[in-house]
C-alpha cells in the first residue's frame, strides 16, 4: 500500500496540476509541492522502521540499495520544494503548472526507479525521469537553453534506447529461468544465465544508463544541460537523476556478481571510472561558469562511484556512502548557485566578484561546499573517497589510487580557482539605479535548505548513524562487496 502511494500520489498530483484549469497561469502551487514532498518523506521514513511486502507480483519492492536511493530522492525533493517557496517569489517561471507538474512527475518516476525490482519497470521509470525533466531544462525558452534541451533529449534518448536493448538482452540471457526480468529471480538463477547474453546486457546497460549518469565519454550533454537549466532543476538532476541512473547500473552489477562474471565487469567499470575522472580533471581547469563547473564535478563523482563499484570489497561500501554524500552535496551547491543567479543574474566568473560581501550567507555556504565537493575533511565525501582509494590499494591497484588522487587534486585546484575568485575580492560597483552593493537580505527560504544539507554532509563526515551504516553495508554486500 505504501509502495503504491509513494509513486501514485506524486503522479496523480502531477496529472491534476497539468490538467486542471484551476492551475492555469504563472503561479506555482508551492503549498501542494510542499505537502506532497513532506508526505513522501514521511512514508519513506516509515519504510526504514516498518518493513513492507512486495507488490504487483514482486515488481515493486524495497531493498537496502533501493531504499538508500529513495531516501536521497525524498530528502532532496523536500529541500528543493522548500527552496522553491523563496525562489518563485523572486523569479516565477513562465508556466507554473509545467514547472510543478514536471517536478511532481519527476518525483514519481524517480520513486518508481528506486522501488523497481522488475528491470523493465526500472527502465520505464528511468525514461520517465528523462522526459519529466526535459520541459524543466527548457524553462527559459531562449536559444541557449533550447540548444541544451535538444542535445540532452537526443543523447539521453539514444542512451535510454540502448539501455532498453540491454534489458532485452538480459531477458534473452534468462531464457526461462525464473520469472522474467525480476531481480530476485535473476540473482537466484544467476549461474544458469547465458553468459554471452549477460555480458552483452551488462555492456549495453552500462553504456545506456551511463549516458544518463553522465559517465565519460557519454557526458557531453551534462555541462550544457546543467549550465542552462534553472539551478534548482540542475540540482535535482545532479542529485537524484544520476543516483537513479547509477541504481540501474548497480542492479545489473548485482546480477553479474551473482553469476560469477565479476572478473568481466570489473575492468570495464574501472575503465569508465578512470576515464570520467580524467575528463573531469581536464575540463575543470579554466572553467568560467559555476554551473558547468559543477557539471564536470558531477562527472568526476560519477566516475568515483563506478570506480568503487568496479574495485569491489570495501569499495562497494565506499560507493554507497559516496552516493549519499555526493547527492546531498550537489543539491546544496546547486541551490546556492541558484541564489547567486537570483541576485546577480548569472553564475559566471565575469559577472560575479566579492560575493562574500554582497551575499554573505550564500558565499560562505559556497566555499564550504567547495571543500565538501572536492573531498576535504571533515565533510562526508572525504570519508567515502578515502574508502574507495583504500579499496584500490587493498585490491592491489596502487596506480589506480595514485591516478584518482592526482585527478582529485587537479579538480580541487580548478574548482577553487573559480569559486574563490567569485567569492573574494571587491564587489563590482553597482550601476546607478540598482541596488547599492551591500549585503543583500537573503530570504531564509533560500538558505535553510542548503544549510540543512550542509549539516547532514558534515555530520556524515564524522559520524554515520547506525541504521544508515547498516543499510549501506547490506547494499554493499548485495553488490558483491563488504562493509567497512
Amino acid at each position: 500500500m505504501r509502495l503504491l502511494a509513494l509513486w501514485a500520489i506524486p503522479f496523480a498530483t502531477a496529472l491534476v496540476v497539468l490538467g486542471a484549469p484551476v492551475f492555469r497561469g504563472r503561479r506555482v502551487p508551492v503549498a501542494l509541492l510542499l505537502v506532497v514532498a513532506g508526505a513522501h518523506l514521511a512514508v519513506v521514513a516509515s519504510l526504514w522502521i516498518v518493513p513492507t511486502v512486495p507488490v504487483f507480483g514482486g515488481w515493486l519492492d524495497v531493498d537496502p540499495l533501493g531504499l538508500t536511493v529513495l531516501t536521497i530522492t525524498s530528502v532532496l525533493f523536500l529541500v528543493t520544494a522548500i527552496y522553491i517557496v523563496g525562489h518563485v517569489r523572486r523569479d516565477p517561471p513562465r508556466s507554473g503548472r509545467v514547472f510543478a507538474g514536471g517536478l511532481l512527475a519527476f518525483l514519481a518516476a524517480a520513486t518508481v526507479v528506486a522501488l523497481a525490482h522488475h528491470l523493465a519497470v526500472l527502465w520505464v521509470g528511468m525514461e520517465a525521469t528523462t522526459l519529466a525533466v526535459a520541459p524543466l531544462v527548457f524553462l527559459r525558452r531562449d536559444r541557449r537553453s533550447l540548444e541544451a534541451t535538444w542535445k540532452y533529449l537526443v543523447v539521453s534518448s539514444v542512451g535510454i534506447a540502448l539501455a532498453l536493448l540491454g534489458t532485452f538482452f538480459l531477458a534473452s540471457a534468462q531464457g526461462g529461468a525464473g520469472r522474467p526480468l525480476l531481480l530476485p529471480d535473476l540473482i537466484a538463477h544467476a549461474r544458469e544465465l547465458h553468459p554471452a547474453w549477460l555480458r552483452a546486457a551488462f555492456l549495453f546497460l552500462l553504456v545506456g544508463f551511463g549516458t544518463k549518469m553522465g559517465l565519460a565519454p557519454m557526458h557531453t550533454w551534462k555541462p550544457d544541460t546543467y549550465g542552462e537549466a534553472p539551478s534548482l532543476v540542475s540540482g535535482l538532476m545532479a542529485g537524484v537523476l544520476t543516483t537513479c541512473a547509477f541504481l540501474g547500473i548497480a542492479r545489473v552489477t548485482e546480477v553479474v556478481a551473482a553469476a560469477g562474471l565479476a572478473s568481466f565487469a570489473q575492468p570495464v567499470l574501472l575503465a569508465f571510472g578512470l576515464l570520467s575522472l580524467a575528463v573531469a580533471a581536464t575540463f575543470i581547469i579554466g572553467q568560467g561558469d559555476v554551473k558547468r563547473l559543477l557539471a564536470y564535478s558531477s562527472v568526476e563523482h560519477m566516475g568515483l562511484l563506478v570506480l568503487g563499484l568496479g574495485l569491489g570489497g570495501v569499495g562497494a561500501y565506499g560507493t554507497m556512502l559516496h552516493l549519499v554524500n555526493n547527492s546531498l552535496a550537489k543539491g546544496w551547491m546547486f541551490l546556492i548557485t541558484g541564489n547567486i543567479v537570483l541576485a546577480t543574474g548569472s553564475a559566471t566568473a565575469g559577472a560575479n566578484r566579492g560575493l562574500i560581501r554582497t551575499l554573505p550567507a550564500s558565499a560562505t555556504l559556497l566555499v564550504l561546499g567547495l571543500f565538501a565537493v572536492t573531498g576535504s575533511p571533515p565533510f562526508g565525501l572525504f570519508l567515502s573517497e578515502f574508502t574507495i582509494v583504500r579499496a584500490a590499494i587493498d585490491g592491489g591497484h596502487p596506480w589506480i589510487a595514485a591516478v584518482t588522487l592526482a585527478a582529485l587534486a587537479i579538480i580541487f585546484v580548478g574548482m577553487a580557482a573559480l569559486i574563490l575568485g567569485i567569492v573574494l575580492g571587491e564587489p563590482p560597483p553597482a550601476p546607478t539605479g540598482e541596488r547599492a552593493p551591500g549585503a543583500v537580505k537573503e530570504s531564509s527560504w533560500l538558505v535553510v535548505g542548503p544549510v540543512a544539507l550542509a549539516a547532514i554532509v558534515l555530520m556524515l563526515g564524522v559520524y554515520i548513524p547506525g541504521p544508515l551504516q547498516e543499510m549501506l553495508t547490506r547494499a554493499a554486500m548485495a553488490l558483491g562487496g563488504r562493509g567497512p
Binding site: H118, A120, V121, W123, V124, E127, A128, T130, L131, A134, P135, F138, R141, D142, R143, R144, L146, E147, A148, T149, W150, K151, L153, V154, S157, V158, A161, L164, L165, F168, A171, S172, Q174, G175, P180, L181, H194, A196, W197, P223, D224, G227, E228, F283, Q287, R292
Partner: protein, 212 residues
C-alpha cells in the same frame, strides 16, 4: 504465417533503406508510417496462437507508430515549413551504401549470436539492421526533424528485438515503452517547434553556441 512474417520483416528493411535514400521529409514520414503498420502486424503474425496480448499489442503499436506519431511529425513539418533535407553530413549515396553495409553486418552478427530456436529467425538480424540504420540517420542528418525520425527507427529496431521476448515482457511494459516513446517524441516535437521559431531553421548543425 511464417512466410507472411518473413515478408513483413523484409519489407521493414526495405522501408529502412527507403528512408535512408530520400531527401523529402514527407517521404521520410510516410516510410515511418509504413514501418509502423508493418511493426504492428508482426505480433499477430509471430504469435503461436492469437491471444489478447498479441492483438492488443498489435493494435496499440499500430495506433501509436503508424497514426499518432507520423501525424504529429507531419504537423511539425507544416509548422516549420520545411520540405527537404539538405545534403547530410554523409551524402545520400554514401548513406545508402552504409545502410546496405549495415544490413550485411547485422545478418553476419546475427548468425554468430547464440540464439535459441526462434519461431522467426529473421527477427534478430532485421532488428539489428533497423537499429543500425536508425543510428545512421540520427547521427548524419542535419535537420532536427529527421533526427527525430532516426530516433524512432532506432526505437523500432529495439522493439523488434523485444518481440523475441514476448513472454518475458508483459503487455503493461510494452504499453509503458510505447507511451514513453510517444511522450518523448511529443516533447521533441515541441522543442523542434521552438528551435524553428528561435533559430529560423531546423538545421541542428547550427546549434553550436554552447561549448567549452
Amino acid at each position: 504465417m511464417r512466410d507472411a512474417a518473413q515478408i513483413v520483416l523484409l519489407l521493414i528493411v526495405l522501408s529502412d533503406l527507403a528512408i535512408l535514400g530520400t531527401s523529402r521529409l514527407s517521404s521520410c514520414i510516410r516510410g515511418l508510417a509504413a514501418q509502423g503498420v508493418l511493426l504492428g502486424l508482426l505480433p499477430v503474425l509471430i504469435a503461436p496462437q492469437l491471444s489478447i496480448h498479441a492483438v492488443s499489442l498489435a493494435l496499440g503499436t499500430m495506433i501509436v507508430k503508424a497514426v499518432v506519431l507520423p501525424w504529429f511529425l507531419a504537423w511539425a513539418i507544416r509548422e516549420a515549413a520545411v520540405r527537404r533535407e539538405i545534403e547530410p553530413i554523409v551524402g545520400f549515396i554514401a548513406s545508402q551504401l552504409l545502410g546496405a553495409l549495415a544490413v550485411g553486418l547485422a545478418f553476419a552478427i546475427a548468425s554468430r549470436l547464440p540464439l535459441p530456436a526462434l519461431p522467426q529467425p529473421l527477427l534478430v538480424p532485421v532488428s539489428l539492421a533497423t537499429l543500425m540504420i536508425g543510428f545512421i540517420v540520427l547521427t548524419t542528418r542535419r535537420k532536427a526533424l529527421v533526427q527525430v525520425v532516426g530516433y524512432l527507427i532506432l526505437e523500432n529496431g529495439i522493439y523488434l528485438f523485444g518481440l523475441t521476448q514476448t513472454e518475458s515482457v508483459p503487455f503493461l511494459i510494452e504499453l509503458g515503452v510505447l507511451l514513453d516513446v510517444f511522450v518523448g517524441v511529443f516533447i521533441m516535437g515541441i522543442v523542434v517547434f521552438h528551435i524553428n521559431r528561435e533559430f529560423d531553421s531546423l538545421d541542428a548543425t547550427r546549434l553550436t553556441e554552447l561549448t567549452d
